[in-house]
């Protein structure tokens, strides 16, 4: 596990996607979520238990403490729930027919039969089973430090799931969390373009020809969403 205590986790999340290992390290001392000002959202796909897992995991991957908006405030759980109801959640973007080969090198990519909905459903159930077995509580009920350790264990396959492999579930969760944080607000996440504002991303602008020859000059415009809303 990479320990980079001098750099906050979101900085790592933004700057180095492959360093997902580091993203969830160094969490000691973080307090649980509080003061979630987001409008109430009732999940369509996730059950109450699953929703608790998703919200808690997102709050550990992109916590509310520190600079920038947290994943909860940005609406990431809502984004994930809505994606599960989209063709994406049902696997419409992936070749999902057999044969499902089990003994192929990882360089040949994803070879499981599960679509994203199934990965979450099976993954959350397995995670809560494992958490109960090892620590007598569901993932969401664990102290924050233990949640971080659990996520790290999933990522590194140190916690074994009988159904969907824990690292597959973890990478699905992390990928969708990042998507929900940075995608256009149209999809339910990145609420108020908060993630874009924080990193200085101008959003759905597509023409920068006036700025090409102005090296070093700060781009003056705030973000704009596909809807036309300005941040």
């Amino acid at each position: 596990m990479v320990k980079v205590p001098s750099i906050d986790r979101r900085t790592l999340l933004l700057g180095a996607a492959p360093m997902a290992t580091a993203v969830i390290s160094g969490l000691a001392g973080c307090s649980p979520r509080s003061g979630d000002a987001a409008p109430a959202y009732s999940p369509t796909f996730f059950s109450a238990d699953e929703w608790a897992f998703v919200r808690t995991a997102v709050s550990r991957l992109i916590p509310s403490e520190g600079p920038g908006p947290g994943g909860i405030e940005a609406g990431v759980p809502e984004f994930i729930d809505r994606q599960m109801e989209m063709p994406y959640g049902h696997g419409a973007y992936f070749y999902m027919a057999g044969p499902f080969l089990t003994d192929v090198p990882p360089t040949l990519g994803y070879q499981l039969r599960y679509n994203p909905r199934e990965i979450y459903r099976l993954g959350i159930a397995a995670a809560n089973d494992e958490a109960r077995k090892a620590q007598g509580k569901t993932f969401a009920e664990l102290p924050a430090d233990a949640q971080d350790g659990f996520l790290q264990g999933m990522e590194k396959n140190a916690i074994q799931f009988a159904t969907v492999p824990a690292p597959v579930f973890f990478s699905q969760l992390l990928a969708n969390t990042k998507e929900g944080y940075f995608a256009d607000p149209l999809y339910g996440g990145n609420r108020g373009m908060a993630a874009w504002k924080w990193i200085g991303f101008p959003g759905a602008r597509a023409d920068f020809t006036d700025w090409i020859d102005q090296a070093g000059r700060a781009y003056p415009y705030g973000p704009v969403a596909i809807s036309g809303a300005r941040g």
């Binding site: 070749y95 044969p99 080969l101 090198p105 998507e179 995608a183 256009d184 149209l186 596909i226």
Partner: protein, 188 residues
């Protein structure tokens, strides 16, 4: 039932960058041309209209302009004795789909081949000796020379409009560049 269509002079299979340039060349010469392309027909408007087209999740991540792998995919294996596995999720390469499916997100840079690139086997052998290339390495010279291709390298920037001109062809490393570029090209 088979659809019988009017006879044309030329049929182009695959209406990507290469097919489109061929279609333009042939129609400019007065031929009637049909281009075949899998997936939807698309046009600049409304399909690539701002701001919908700058939706990164939809196009850059999910890949709505790519060939839907759910419908059709390829299999991949590393060696002839391996079992080939389906390419289930986009990873190391993406396949375009429909008119503009690859062209609109294509961000390649067309460096002109150098004279040496086109006769690489001969070049290596002349420079380092015949033993420099292992006998099982199948590297070959191209059957065309730089001199034969150079007029065509020069032709491409004239086929396109807009920003493509500055990025679609790079100056040759051979210093034998003959054509002027339509927009300034930054030399390294």
């Amino acid at each position: 039932m088979a659809e019988r269509r009017k006879r044309v002079d030329a049929v182009i299979i695959g209406y990507g960058w290469a097919g489109a340039i061929m279609a333009k060349t042939l129609t400019d010469a007065g031929l009637s041309v049909v281009a075949l392309e899998r997936g939807p027909a698309r046009d600049t408007s409304p399909d690539f209209e701002y701001p919908r087209i700058v939706d990164e999740l939809k196009y850059g991540v999910r890949g709505d302009l790519w060939q839907p792998l759910a419908k059709e995919t390829v299999t991949v294996r590393h060696g002839v004795n391996d079992v080939a596995a389906p390419y289930r999720k986009y990873g190391s390469f993406v396949l375009g789909n429909g008119v503009g499916g690859a062209g609109v997100h294509w961000n390649g840079q067309l460096w002109r081949a150098s004279p040496e690139d086109l006769r690489l086997r001969s070049h290596i052998e002349e420079r380092y000796g015949k033993s420099a290339i292992p006998h099982d390495m199948t590297i070959q010279d191209y059957p065309v020379t730089f001199e034969e291709l150079e007029p065509h390298f020069d032709h491409l920037p004239g086929c396109s409009r807009g920003p493509l001109q500055s990025s679609a062809t790079k100056p040759s490393r051979s210093r034998r560049r003959t054509a002027r570029f339509h927009t300034p090209t930054h030399m390294a």
